[in-house]
């Protein structure tokens, strides 16, 4: 099946007082219709920026890509107005903190009906009916009555439902969820993840789930991309990457998650901290923290993604190539 979204060689560089900050360097990825791709990685690794660039939500000139094709259309050339149209209608977005994207002075109902009037040209009455229907789709109790409430009158979980309602109102082909449950209690998180999975099945949406929680990712993703210091360092089917991680950063990450379900020892930790984006080391950016690093790891450019198991599993580590040569 052809990809719903295909990004090639995305670069995002911010102009800062301290100099150019390379937030994303050469990211390429595909999402198929109906599939969930998870993006994981430490704070500052470039997960959010990758998605914001896709939506035209970054400072002008910051993002550059060889190609971004969404649903058969190259969107690198789209102007702001066309991108905005794509945003609510074809691509829905859910952020960690619903208060930053819900409008505090408009009722939930108004924000939803607006989506239908704006993007689908529905009449006021039809938009209202569609809005109530969407609220019940996301499991909002007494949806008719909730139309008149303001975001601050809702609990965190209900607000996240309202935001998901707005994101999926126009039945988008792609949902981008950036840490959608990070601020929520696990019992509410389970409700929201359940909800996203249900809507995904119903609408056949592709989903990009950004998360730092490997447990969440294990439960929802078909494929996973691991980011480190602005690059994808490993990508592949979820089972393959969890079973046989090939980039030492990925294995370190997996080993540092404490388990409550096993009689495991204290999790292993990765020494050190991620590099300052303004002063990344040459070659592989993980090198200073990597137990298996060797002189060759310092050579620029950093290793590209290469086959790391049955396709489409890939990792960006020189060790992967070496092992293959040995066998």
């Amino acid at each position: 099946m052809s990809a719903l979204l295909s990004i090639r060689d995305l670069e995002v560089t911010f102009a800062t007082e301290a100099g150019p900050l390379p937030a994303v360097q050469g990211v390429s990825l595909d999402v198929a219709p109906g599939e969930t791709l998870a993006i994981v990685g430490e704070s500052g690794s470039g997960k959010s920026v990758t998605m914001l660039s896709l939506l035209g939500l970054l400072p002008a000139g910051a993002a550059r890509a060889r190609q971004v094709v969404f649903d058969g259309q190259d969107i690198t050339a789209l102007d702001e107005a066309r991108l905005r149209g794509l945003r609510g209608r074809e691509i829905g977005i859910v952020f960690q903190d619903p208060m930053t994207s819900l409008n505090p002075v408009l009722t939930v109902g108004r924000q939803l009906t607006e989506m239908f009037e704006l993007h689908q040209g529905l009449s006021r009455g039809a938009a209202r009916a569609a809005a109530v229907e969407t609220l019940s789709l996301v499991g909002m109790p007494s949806p008719k009555e909730r139309m008149a409430t303001y975001p601050h009158q809702l609990s965190g979980g209900m607000r996240q439902r309202a935001m998901i309602a707005i994101a999926v109102a126009c039945r988008p082909k792609l949902l981008i969820a950036d840490e959608p449950t990070t601020a929520l209690d696990v019992t509410i998180q389970a409700q929201i993840l359940d909800l996203i999975a249900r809507i995904q099945e119903e609408l056949g949406m592709g989903v990009i789930m950004i998360s730092h929680d490997l447990g969440v990712v294990a439960g929802v993703a078909d494929r996973i991309a691991v980011m480190y210091a602005g690059r994808i360092v490993e990508i592949g089917p979820i089972d393959a990457v969890f079973d046989a991680p090939r980039m030492p950063y990925t294995s370190g990450l997996l080993a540092s998650v404490p388990r409550y379900d096993l009689d495991a020892d204290m999790p292993r930790s990765i020494p050190g901290t991620p590099p300052d984006p303004l002063a990344r080391p040459s070659g592989c950016a993980f090198r200073p923290r990597c137990a298996e690093a060797r002189a060759a790891c310092a050579a620029s450019p950093p290793p590209a993604l290469r086959p790391a198991g049955p396709p489409p599993h890939e990792a960006a580590c020189i060790l992967v190539g070496e092992e293959r040569e040995r066998t």
Binding site: G215, A218, G219, F242, S256, P258, M266, S269
Partner: protein, 346 residues
């Protein structure tokens, strides 16, 4: 006669009156902590888990004396803190320290790390003259910070390093008990593991006891000897750290476990989530029966009428649930259990 435990909390209540400072206003009361009992032995860790707003931080603050209990008692080394003189209370303060989720907000941005660490040492008269600087150096070493950190300011450090500074500051007082309020929740997993290991090592070396507040089950499971689960201001279940999450009997604990994701895709596909309906109830005038009854998928009329007591359910295990004997069958968590019933889904 056995020695008293390091810390004993008995029937502790912390109620906040609502509405503009009128203590007797008619707007209701937030029962943030509502009848909590536990003991903690020297050098051990009690983990405290529960949803946002269930009263974990308030309980922790009450233990170290930052909140005044509405009723009940906090006893340190056999002495009731409320009955202590002012001078004695200062000494008690030193023996109990707290570290926070966001170390940055609790560090003075205008003080160097060295000054931050030296302050409590001088304040409590723990060292004198050159002994202070030597102790600061020792503390930095204890938390694996380079000696040069002494002359730098908090904003120059990463989140994990700031947490190390917060830990060093707590240790500067040579406490017997440290209340850790979500100390790793804001950190990336790779850094989180570093801090967990550090806390564990410090406990082994210094014999300090922890009241460890967290919401992530894996973290709490790894650091705790014993775990207490809180819901709406009450401890609803308590058990050994190694086994509680395997043998949980309270309907809420089981729901919590079933909702907590496991970083193993194959296992995740086999699991059965207990999806709770609705939101957590408000601690403002909470229900009179079981605090969980309103969201509980297997509540019976008695649960709404009568508050179940926290009762022994085997060695090292206590549960406050009227249906504790049946919950493993009623609320299976892994797929090999019984088919889904009302209130549960696959």
């Amino acid at each position: 006669m056995t020695a008293p435990p390091l810390l004993e909390v008995a029937d502790l209540r912390l109620h906040f009156p609502l509405g503009g400072g009128f203590a007797f206003g008619r707007r209701g009361t937030v029962k943030a902590v509502d009848g909590v009992d536990f003991r903690l032995e020297a050098g051990r860790t009690l983990g405290l888990v529960g949803e946002s707003g269930c009263g974990k931080s308030t309980l922790g603050r009450a233990v170290v004396g930052l909140e005044t209990p509405t009723s009940g008692s906090v006893t340190l080394g056999g002495r009731n803190l409320a009955a202590r003189s002012r001078a004695e209370r200062d000494a008690d303060r030193r023996r109990m320290q707290m570290i926070f989720q966001d170390p940055f907000s609790s560090l003075n941005p205008r003080m160097t790390v060295g000054q931050t660490l030296a302050e409590p040492i001088r304040l409590h008269g723990l060292r004198e003259g050159p002994g202070v600087a030597a102790r600061v150096r020792e503390l930095l070493g204890l938390v694996d910070l380079p000696e040069g950190a002494r002359d730098r300011y908090p904003h120059e450090f990463s989140g994990g390093q700031r947490q190390r500074i917060g830990i060093a500051r707590a240790l500067a007082c040579e406490p017997e008990l440290v209340v850790c309020d979500e100390p790793v929740s804001a950190l990336d997993v790779s850094i989180q593991a570093q801090i967990m290991r550090l806390l564990k090592r410090l406990q082994d070396e210094l014999g300090v006891a922890y009241l460890f507040i967290g919401h992530e089950l894996g973290v709490v499971r790894q650091v705790s000897d014993e775990i207490a689960v809180m819901y709406l201001g009450q401890i609803v279940e308590r058990g050994a750290g190694r086994t509680l999450f395997r043998e949980a009997r309270h309907a809420y604990t089981r729901a919590l476990i079933s909702a907590a994701p496991i970083p193993d895709p194959r296992l995740e596909r086999l699991r059965r989530r207990i999806i709770l309906k609705g939101d957590p109830p408000s601690p403002i005038d909470p229900p009179s029966g079981c605090p969980f009854a309103g969201r509980c998928p297997v509540a019976i009329p008695r649960c709404h009428a009568e508050r179940p007591p926290l009762e022994r359910f085997g060695p090292d295990h206590a549960v406050a649930c009227w249906r504790a004997g049946e919950t493993p069958e009623l609320l299976p968590i892994l797929a090999q259990g019984a088919p889904a019933r009302d209130g549960t889904s696959g």
